[in-house]
Symmetry: C2
Subunit: 299 residues, 2 copies
């Protein structure tokens, strides 16, 4: 990037002040309000070229994804996103329009979700593009939905459909912020997380955090149409990762309330039950097999 | 890094919960309190290998610096740092001890300043190390000290001494958090920022934000002993960057209060006055020359 100061001027012209934002981009920090009587929810996430996106992906979509992953985490906590900060490490000599296009993609998604981009930093380096985003959200005290609350007998539910997210959907997914808020209002779930590394790994994490197991019915797993039909379809749904759907557990009565009043297009699919035993895949004859060890860890 | 999950386990063992932190590392996000009746101050900053540190710098010092730069920004707003989140993009194949050593350096500085590290993310990529840190602080409503408040007649003051920070001091500097809080309590300053890109560039930014100029007395600029004596010493003090000292402006009466009760070892040096004219360097005979155009922009 030839001129960081010029980029900052461009960015300041797009900074939104008002409604909770006293000071935005242009000073040493931003000054923002947290709604009275709420707690902060803080999430941070980085994406790197080659691992989370490719060199020929549109910078707008890359910026969008960097923010969307954080909004997905905020949703998974049952929180409301408020403010975002972003840093970008850009290749030395990167064209001037790249940081603007990245930011444009972030700002479009931010506006869609009522989030204000209030700060950040750009550095040039001898490497590829790395974006890091932090989002600050709010939640009522005690109302955050954690990974550790699942109890035997709870229904295990996922939003949307799983698998085949790469190479197309992962740049354009809609974070389930509205859906999570409805779940909290109608349920709430006993535990929740977002599916970023594949349900095989992420449900294992939820079960470990809660000290429980689960019987998941293979036939109920909602496989995304992006997954090719065939004997490997279930494995893709469980292990591909980058779904950015919500995985939650919920008591049977609360589940009936949620199912009866669900106001969103995104489907909810009950895929099994939390147990006091191991984490297992159960096929139609009731036979249980050990849960797959796979899943997509970005290392 | 061979095993991101193992690093996360190590990290969770070091997460501090309590006193405002309901949920820390290990869930989709952290849940933290903001002191009643205060505003959030949000800062974000990234450092990259080759630009802000070198491949043979100790990872502990690199982690320390990534956090310290953000604490310096929080100080410059007159705020109190509370929580930090960090993301690291690490070279593929990076030894397992590197993220731990980076984190250890961050945690040591965090404890020193009463800051809790509550979240983050690590990614591996085809590139060098990039660290991004966000800090959340608090400030009383209306009490944040901005860059835009300088008025003609105000005294221009810097903490500490300037220049020669690279290659040694820049990794070990002490962010002026305590000094900034004393300034706010005793003054407050009319405008403030931290000196990261050199006073030549940073004072220009402050003056532009405030719509003022300044007469800076060359003979008063506190040159750091790390700068070699000679005709270039003043230029180094103004343009080397990475000082992480506070630059502030303050009304003459408030300045007398601050100077009379200053409780810190770090010296305060008045270097000139804010004017309604241009930004100038004034030498002993009173002759003014245009302000240097230099300064260290990390691009």
């Amino acid at each position: 990037m030839a001129d960081e100061l010029e980029f900052h001027r461009w960015l300041r012209g797009r900074a939104e002040v008002g409604t909770g934002v006293d000071i935005s981009i242009g000073d040493d920090g931003a000054v923002c309000a947290l709604p009275e009587g709420t707690r902060m929810v803080l999430v941070a996430d980085a994406i790197a070229e080659g691992s989370h996106f490719l060199s020929d992906d549109a910078p707008e979509l890359v910026g969008r994804k960097a923010l969307a992953r954080n909004l997905s985490d905020i949703a998974a906590m049952g929180a409301t996103p408020l403010y975002a900060l972003a840093t970008a490490a850009l290749p030395r000599g990167c064209p001037d329009d790249v940081p603007r296009r990245i930011t444009t993609g972030m700002l479009e998604l931010a506006r869609e979700f009522g989030v204000r981009l209030v700060g950040g930093d750009t550095v040039s380096h001898d490497g590829k593009t790395v974006l890091s985003v932090t989002v600050v959200g709010s939640v009522a005290p005690g109302a955050a939905v954690l990974r550790s609350g699942a109890r035997p007998g709870d229904v295990v539910v996922v939003t949307g459909r799983l698998g085949g997210s790469f190479p197309h959907r992962h740049l354009r997914f809609t974070p389930r912020v509205a859906e999570a808020r409805s779940l909290v209002a109608l349920g709430p779930p006993s535990a929740m997380m977002d599916l970023s590394d594949g349900m095989a790994l992420d449900l294992r994490r939820l079960c470990e955090a809660s000290g429980v197991g689960a019987d998941i019915e293979t036939a109920r797993i909602p496989v995304h149409p992006d997954v090719a039909a065939g004997p490997e379809a279930i494995r893709h749904a469980l292990e591909d990762g980058e779904d950015y759907e919500l995985l939650f557990t919920i008591g049977p009565d609360a589940w009936e309330s949620v199912r009866a009043s669900w106001p969103h297009e995104v489907p909810l699919t009950p895929v099994g039950r939390i147990t006091a035993g191991a984490l297992r895949l159960v096929s139609e004859g009731g036979v249980g097999v050990p849960w797959p060890r796979g899943g997509h860890v970005h290392t």
